[in-house]
């Protein structure tokens, strides 16, 4: 077997084959070790792919040797190589982190199924990112979503509301997936092809009701999956009641992959020849992105549950990504891609810090955070550093994101958007500040359920600090994220055909 030639399919095949094997392992430590090993292997393969794409350009892999557009094609360019590395990297960290947290928060009889579902979720997310076939996107999107519903429902051991949250997400997610597949169906009817590159060629110059309706269905369907502002109602409950490790994993990956799919469809499938793309940017993504940034941030400010607060903050951060890509410039798209990567790093670290607190106190209410700087200093500082990153303080990745976004906003002539970005960062400062104040300045409780809290175990602290360190490292050195994202954005813009 020539490994280099098969590399393109391995990020999907490794977790896909490994997931069912998990079920045969004995209960206890084995499923976790197995899943962690697989996630590291997947991450290594993804890094190899990034360097291959970076040196040799686009990789195209034909499944079953059937040439596209008839066969399914895996097509890896700079943009999805970056997202692949991100998803598998977050997977590698969260899988390693999960053991103690899952032991406490998930029914032990379900722990084998838990790691199996996590691997299937990883498979789905990698598949969505890697494929160059529009229908394949739908299949993998459903693979990842279905496993996510199950994973969220496993939070039922600590809070029965996880069941309704999972059901709610199931309904909304299925509506989203149905809309998406209706959109794909309409495009298929209009063009007779499902391959993205081929769709792009055949859609050129076509602008009729069917294609327009297909476009609208796809945008709304993916909008539901990525929790675009008014379609975000499933997200807060899902993130709040899911087991903490699951919250960390899906908050850092699932919505990011959906944003990537949106970018892929806007830029690589439709392109700016299709007038609706420009309209969608100006009349849908820009206002909804701005509204999401503010309304969701304001709602986050008034949450007494830290996980719910972070969930609303995620909705707001998705607003930044939509804002960036709605500028329809290389700078804007770069900002959007950079923020996809950076937000995953900070939200992953924040949710992991909350997971540590939940592990020791059993609660994610803000009351449980009182005086934790004395009881759990390592966790506290991880939370505060990644919180600073979320706000956008210099030397963290958050600053890089905001910097790219502000530059793009000024370059695109949306100077008011630049002011709004800064203003909404101030709200982020307020809600992170609330938790920081609780942790740093309050006296730790001497009695009650939270009194016995002590530092989280090493198996949780080390992976969490790896992510916190990544927040700082990529905030100082932007060669990897910034330059790669810029190259990805230029390539995407070239296919899309310049400014609308």
């Amino acid at each position: 077997m020539n490994l280099a030639a098969q590399l393109a399919v391995l990020p999907v095949i490794i977790p896909l084959v490994a997931a069912p094997i998990t079920l045969l392992l004995p209960q206890g430590r084995a499923p976790h070790l197995w899943a962690t090993l697989i996630s590291w292997l997947t991450f290594a393969v993804s890094i190899a792919l990034v360097s291959m794409v970076s040196n040799a350009g686009v990789i195209s892999y034909h499944l079953g040797d059937w040439a596209p557009p008839l066969g399914i094609e895996y097509r890896i360019d700079m943009a999805n190589a970056l997202v692949l590395a991100l998803v598998s990297g977050i997977g590698a960290v969260v899988f390693a982190f999960a053991y103690r947290s899952v032991e406490r928060e998930v029914d032990p009889r379900q722990s084998t199924f838990f790691y199996c579902a996590m691997l299937i979720c990883l498979t789905g997310l990698m598949g969505v990112t890697i494929t160059g076939d529009a229908f394949n996107v739908f299949v993998f999107l459903e693979i990842s979503s279905l496993s996510t519903y199950a994973l969220i429902a496993m939070g039922a051991k600590s809070d029965r509301r996880a069941l309704t949250a999972a059901f709610n997400y199931l309904v909304m997610g299925t509506i989203g997936a149905t809309f998406f597949v209706i959109g794909i169906g309409l495009l298929y009817q209009a063009t007779g092809t499902l391959n993205m590159a081929d769709l792009h060629d055949r859609l050129a110059g076509q602008s009729n009701r069917m294609v327009e309706a297909g476009f609208a269905f796809i945008v709304v369907g993916i909008g539901l999956k990525l929790a675009m502002f008014p379609l975000h109602l499933w997200l807060p409950n899902a993130y709040t009641y899911a087991p903490s490790a699951v919250s960390a994993f899906i908050a850092a990956t699932a919505t990011k992959v959906a944003v990537y799919v949106l970018i892929r469809f806007f830029y690589s499938v439709f392109g700016f020849d299709f007038a609706f793309v420009g309209h969608a940017f100006t009349y849908v993504l820009l206002p909804l992105g701005l509204a999401g940034m503010f309304i969701a941030s304001l709602v986050a400010l008034f949450q007494d549950d830290v996980k719910r607060m972070l969930a609303y903050s995620s909705v707001a951060q998705i607003g930044y990504m939509l804002l960036g890509l709605s500028f329809a410039t290389v700078e804007g798209l770069t900002a959007s891609l950079v923020h996809i990567l950076n937000h995953a790093l900070m939200k992953g670290a924040l949710f992991m810090a909350v997971a540590c607190v939940v592990f020791r106190t059993g609660s994610h209410s803000i009351q449980a955070f009182a005086g934790l700087a004395k009881r759990m200093p390592v966790t506290t500082w991880a939370f505060i550093l990644s919180g600073l990153s979320l706000i956008g303080v210099p030397l963290t990745v958050g600053f890089i994101s905001k910097w790219y976004l502000l530059t793009a906003a000024f370059a695109a002539g949306h100077w008011y958007a630049a002011f709004l970005i800064v203003a909404s960062s101030l709200i982020a400062m307020a809600y992170i500040g609330r938790v920081a104040e609780m942790m740093l300045l309050r006296e730790p409780p001497s009695e009650g359920p939270y009194a016995a809290a002590k530092e989280a175990p090493m198996s949780m602290l080390i992976p969490m600090w790896v992510l916190v360190a990544a927040n700082i490292y990529f905030g100082v050195r932007t060669e990897f994220t910034g330059d790669m994202a810029a190259r990805a954005a230029e390539a995407l813009m070239l296919v899309a055909g310049g400014a609308p």
């Binding site: 077997m1 020539n2 098969q6 399919v9 095949i13 896909l16 084959v17 069912p20 094997i21 079920l23 045969l24 892999y61 034909h62 499944l63 079953g64 040797d65 029965r160």
Partner: protein, 146 residues
């Protein structure tokens, strides 16, 4: 003996249903049929058994744990065929490498047969697992227990 006709009929039908499932299974790569349909029909035989003799009797014949193992084995047939073609030097699921140099694409035939077999086993065991869970459901939870 109670419901003798029902019991005897079920016993008579059980084997032909499974035979029919296998017919649909192996017919699948040339005509209508295939793993999905065959898996469902295969599961129907056991569902009929459960209707007649009760869930506990069926679980004795085909325990839950065996179904999970069957699911994994089915998936492994499918994925394993894909990985095998990769190990033989082809692309994932490029069946032609299974029988190299064949003039009438014999590899395609064997490949799809293996994959369909995997699909059949997985679908049958998944169907039965869903059936076991729905019929073997515990009574509703009291309002107090929430």
């Amino acid at each position: 003996m109670e419901r003798a006709i029902l019991r005897v009929t079920t016993k008579i039908f059980f084997a032909p249903i499974i035979l029919y499932a296998l017919y649909v299974q192996f017919h699948g790569d040339y005509g209508p049929g295939g793993g999905f349909q065959a898996g469902i029909i295969f599961a129907v035989a056991f569902i009929l058994h459960a209707f007649c003799f009760g869930l506990e009797e069926t679980k004795k014949a085909l325990p839950q744990r065996a179904l999970i193992v069957a699911m994994v084995i089915g998936l492994m047939f499918y994925a394993g065929t894909g990985v095998a073609t990769m190990l033989l030097g082809g692309k994932l699921l490029a069946y032609d490498v299974i029988v190299p140099g064949s003039t009438h694409h014999a590899g395609q035939h064997y490949g799809i047969l293996l994959v369909e077999w995997g699909v059949g086993v997985t679908v049958a065991s998944t169907m039965l697992t869903i059936f076991y869970h729905f019929t073997g459901r515990e009574p509703d939870i009291d309002q107090e227990d929430w």
